[in-house]
């Protein structure tokens, strides 16, 4: 086996040659990385330029100190993050500009959130998104958010349970399923909507609530974009109305009035399905939204016995009504904004290709007057671990 020896010899020479002459191109030791966890984009107030806030983690502080409780962001060296700011014209130039300020090269793959400041979002986000889609270090599953005010403020807000604000925000996004009142949006969904000629991109809104020291971060409502510009927002109820239709409701609570008395009954959503279908009858387009929901009785404030079939029937009707109201409010708002957040345009495009070519151009007008039929079918399956409430039995 002479060849084996030769091959080994050749391999070692290649190894030595490449080691000696060229060095190591992409080598970055862990301590040389400035790991970016979140990024905020704002429009600078005075110059109108782009202002990028990148949140780096301080690896040396990660294990020391408390969980950030009471740290409040700025108390000495105890905070585990560092917010870097830079202003510039283009996205990539601004980001490269960070090298003037940071001893470590910014490392993007672990970026968790992209937050757009409101004023920036109103002027269009397209030009800034390209970097996040194109660069090989960035990933498509980052969360997209719109700040109610300035993105840099949000990133500077020390969460109470996490050490790093960006991690706190991404954890917050993951827990939104419990309510389904926020449209959790990842970059790929946002870009997909942006690429559609008609569908309006959406992103959740994040804001700081409450005064001074007692303030908290809260994610609520939806920012609606037209093309790439922010044009309006949905409340949390309207957001869920939207999510019902696009089949994104995972869990949540529907409050309905007790059919027997004045109390409130909370129904927990355990399963839901939304379906959008399109019809064109006599060249008149219309949309049907079918929603199926299943829920449990989670909580009731009155002492009425709701486990009887007729009471359940009534509750179901009320729940259907509540869902219908939410969807309709979302639809109305979007029709007013002329922003196709439901993606009806894509449905027509997919099912009615021929007609679509004519509808495409004045879709905005068609959309704002589109006839939409909403059917809701709710079911109540279980009542938790008790049947009637644990109160003294009422005389019938």
């Amino acid at each position: 086996m002479k060849s084996v020896k030769k091959v080994v010899a050749l391999m070692t020479t290649i190894l030595i040659l490449s080691l000696g002459t060229t060095g190591c191109w992409n080598r970055r030791e862990l301590p040389s990385l400035g790991i970016v966890m979140g990024v905020g984009l704002d429009k600078s107030e005075d110059s109108g330029k782009l202002e990028v806030t990148a949140q780096l983690i301080k690896t040396s502080e990660l294990n020391s100190g408390g969980t950030g409780e009471g740290g409040g962001g700025g108390s000495g060296g105890s905070s585990a993050y560092w917010n870097l700011q830079n202003t510039g014209e283009s996205m990539f130039a601004t980001i490269r500009g960070f090298t003037h300020k940071s001893s470590r090269k910014l490392y993007w793959p672990h970026n968790q959130v992209i937050i757009f400041g409101r004023s920036l979002a109103e002027n269009g986000v397209q030009e800034y998104l390209d970097f996040f889609v194109r660069d090989q270090e960035t990933r498509l599953e980052v969360y997209m958010l719109v700040a109610q005010d300035k993105a840099s403020d949000i990133l500077d807000f020390q969460p109470k349970l996490e050490k790093i604000p960006a991690v706190g925000i991404s954890e917050l996004m993951e827990s939104q399923d419990a309510n389904s009142q926020t449209c959790v949006t990842q970059l790929n969904e946002f870009v997909t909507r942006l690429m559609s000629p008609t569908t309006a991109p959406i992103a959740p809104i994040i804001k700081i609530e409450g005064p001074g020291a007692k303030s908290e971060l809260s994610v609520e409502g939806t920012a609606v974009f037209k093309k790439d510009k922010l044009i309006g927002q949905l409340t949390k109820e309207e957001t869920r109305g939207l999510l019902w239709a696009i089949n994104k409701v995972k869990s949540g609570i529907i409050d309905v009035k007790c059919p027997d008395c004045a109390g409130t009954v909370s129904l927990e959503i355990i399963r839901s399905k939304g379906k959008i279908t399109s019809q064109i009858i006599d060249s008149k387009p219309s949309i049907t939204i079918e929603i199926e929901e299943e829920g449990n009785i989670a909580d009731q404030s009155c002492d009425a016995n709701l486990v009887a079939p007729d009471a359940t029937e009534k509750l179901t009707k009320q729940a259907e009504k509540a869902i219908l109201d939410e969807v309709e409010s979302a639809l109305k708002k979007s029709q007013k904004l002329k922003a196709d957040i439901f993606g009806f345009g894509d449905v027509f495009h997919q099912r009615h290709l021929k007609e679509w070519t004519q509808m495409k151009d004045d879709w905005d007008e068609i959309y704002s007057n589109l006839e939409v039929e909403i059917t809701v079918q709710a079911k109540i399956r279980r009542s938790g671990t008790i049947g009637r409430p644990a109160t003294p039995e009422k005389e019938q």
Binding site: L15, E29, P31, I57
Partner: protein
């Protein structure tokens, strides 16, 4: 570099000279052999004894006992043997005593036409193996192996009486392959005992034990064992051809033989297997392989060797299949971990940080913070330190060895991390690698080399380097052959039927065929209906 080339050239020149020399020598030595074999015994005992004294020299362990044989006509005789190599009881009771006192000869035998030596052989010696020879060389060689030589005055032939016996270690539990379940005997240094251990497992005349002597000076007994009708004849021929090609002066251990007969001497993978356990040898022979026993070592060679054999143990076949199959997979995984773990760690931390899950990256980054060395230096350094500790632990007497491991664990595991010299994750990776490398003992040496190669590849081109390394390793493994059998079979070339004993171990009743790639002549192992089942209803009713 230049000096290396020069030395290389010198070496080649030397080799060339040697080659020419050996060619001329071989013809010369042949002549010499022929000449020496022409020296035969003469009729005079005195002359013969002088001849022997000449060729045996004045070794202190050579005994030349001259005595008178008690025959009707008294004849002078001499017994020559080596003291430590022979059983003195046989010499005294079965040779000297009957010859000197208890002549069984009577008139009838005396009148027969037999010559003296044949008479002694047939009527007076109560020893099993007795043969005749008249060549001095032959006699001396046999004497060196423990045979006693009986010279009789007036005879041109001498008797070779098998008396070889010496102190040997008793059959013991093998040190290198310990088992929970299964036979606890291991081979010892004595060839005869070893072949006997094998014969006791396979009581079949088809088990062939062919003996030969290798080594011009050591004249080591080597024995090829195989089962006629199972082993491929071409395999046996190839083994004999390679063994006959060994022209070396000494064979001290089976390792010598191994290095002279392997297919790929430059490969880091051994293509000849070795084992200390008679039951594994028996199992391998029964699969159609051949074994090579070498006198003086408990390690028996088996050929051909496949890569998967390194991941099998004899115990696998004694336990029930489910857990064994799981353990097999664990062994493959452990081997992969032992060669790839440090390289993967280096590649992940220096090239592909984006592949580390974010929470893990946090803890790794904070552990690595302030560590002065790059990851590749850490990996190589820790690997070398581990090998030093291991070697120290193996060579030292056991009590001291423990001290070494404690010091090592303290110094490396604890202090170095607290002092901030290395990151804690690296210690974990190296420790995991070390433990994993012990899972497949037969491949610890190849694993050690591969580990360093992969760390180097990962250090300068990350995951792509590892990938290239893996492909290279695979090319090498695929092109290897062990005595004609592809080393990587039954994986590449694929043999679906043989996969039953590769990654998993199928139940014994399902393994009805022998491995096809070993070239077994008789592929069917046993009956097809072997699966045990409770007695069927009819049978139980009739009972």
């Amino acid at each position: 570099m230049l000096s290396y080339l020069l030395s290389r050239l010198k070496y080649l020149k030397l080799l060339g000279q040697n080659y020419k020399l050996s060619q001329s020598n071989s013809t010369a030595s042949k002549d010499k052999d022929e000449k020496s074999t022409t020296s035969y015994l003469s009729a005079s005992l005195k002359n013969n004894l002088n001849l022997f004294k000449e060729s045996l020299g004045n070794n202190y362990d050579v005994v030349i006992r001259e005595f008178t044989i008690n025959m009707p006509k008294q004849v002078d005789g001499a017994l020559i043997y080596l003291t430590g190599m022979t059983d003195s009881k046989i010499v005294n009771d079965s040779i000297l005593k009957p010859l000197m006192f208890e002549s069984q000869l009577d008139k009838t035998t005396l009148t027969s036409k037999l010559d003296t030596i044949e008479m002694i052989r047939t009527t007076m010696l109560s020893v099993g193996e007795v043969s005749k020879s008249n060549s001095i060389n032959d006699l001396v060689d046999n004497c060196m192996a423990g045979t006693s030589i009986l010279l009789v005055d007036g005879c041109t032939e001498a008797l070779l009486i098998m008396t070889a016996d010496w102190k040997a270690r008793s059959v013991d539990e093998p040190k290198t392959e310990s088992v929970v379940r299964g036979s606890r005997e291991g081979f010892i240094e004595n060839l005869l005992t070893n072949t006997t251990l094998l014969r006791r497992k396979i009581k079949n005349p088809d088990l062939v034990l062919e003996s030969m002597k290798i080594g011009q000076r050591t004249k080591t007994n080597v024995c090829i064992a195989y089962i006629k009708g199972l082993a491929n004849p071409s395999l046996i021929d190839e083994i004999k051809r390679r063994l006959n090609n060994i022209h070396t002066d000494s064979i001290l251990e089976s390792g010598y033989i191994e290095q002279f007969i392997e297919d790929a001497p430059f490969s880091i993978f051994a293509t000849v297997g070795n084992t200390e356990k008679p039951d594994s040898v028996a199992a391998k022979i029964l699969e159609g392989r051949a074994a090579i026993f070498v006198d003086g070592t408990p390690f028996v060679l088996t050929v051909p060797l496949l890569l998967v054999e390194n991941f099998q143990t004899s115990e696998d076949y004694y336990s029930r299949p489910y857990f064994v199959s799981f353990i097999r997979l664990i062994r493959f995984m452990a081997y992969l971990i032992s060669i790839l773990a440090p390289a993967t760690y280096v590649a992940l931390t220096t090239f592909h940080q984006e592949l580390i899950p974010t929470p893990l990256l946090f803890s790794m980054a904070s552990a690595q913070e302030g560590v002065p060395f790059p990851a590749i230096a850490e990996a190589i350094g820790m690997g070398v330190i581990f090998e030093i500790l291991r070697e120290a632990g193996v060579r030292l007497p056991r009590p001291v060895g423990q001290a070494v491991s404690i010091v090592g664990a303290l110094v490396i595991g604890q202090s170095a991390v607290t002092a901030g010299l290395i990151g804690a994750p690296m210690v974990i990776v190296v420790a995991l690698t070390a433990v994993a490398s012990f899972v497949v003992p037969a491949q610890t040496d190849s694993g050690g080399v591969l580990r360093i190669v992969f760390v180097a590849l990962a250090g300068f081109s990350g995951g792509f380097g590892i990938m290239i390394g893996l492909i290279g390793l695979f090319i090498h493994l695929t092109s290897l052959r062990s005595f004609g059998t592809p080393f990587l079979s039954p994986i590449a070339p694929l043999s679906v039927a043989d996969l039953k004993d590769t990654f998993i171990r199928a139940p014994l009743w399902a393994m009805i065929t022998r491995p096809s790639f070993i070239g077994s002549q008789d592929p069917k192992r046993k009956d097809f209906r072997l699966k045990p089942s409770p007695p069927s209803e009819k049978e139980s009713q009739s009972e």
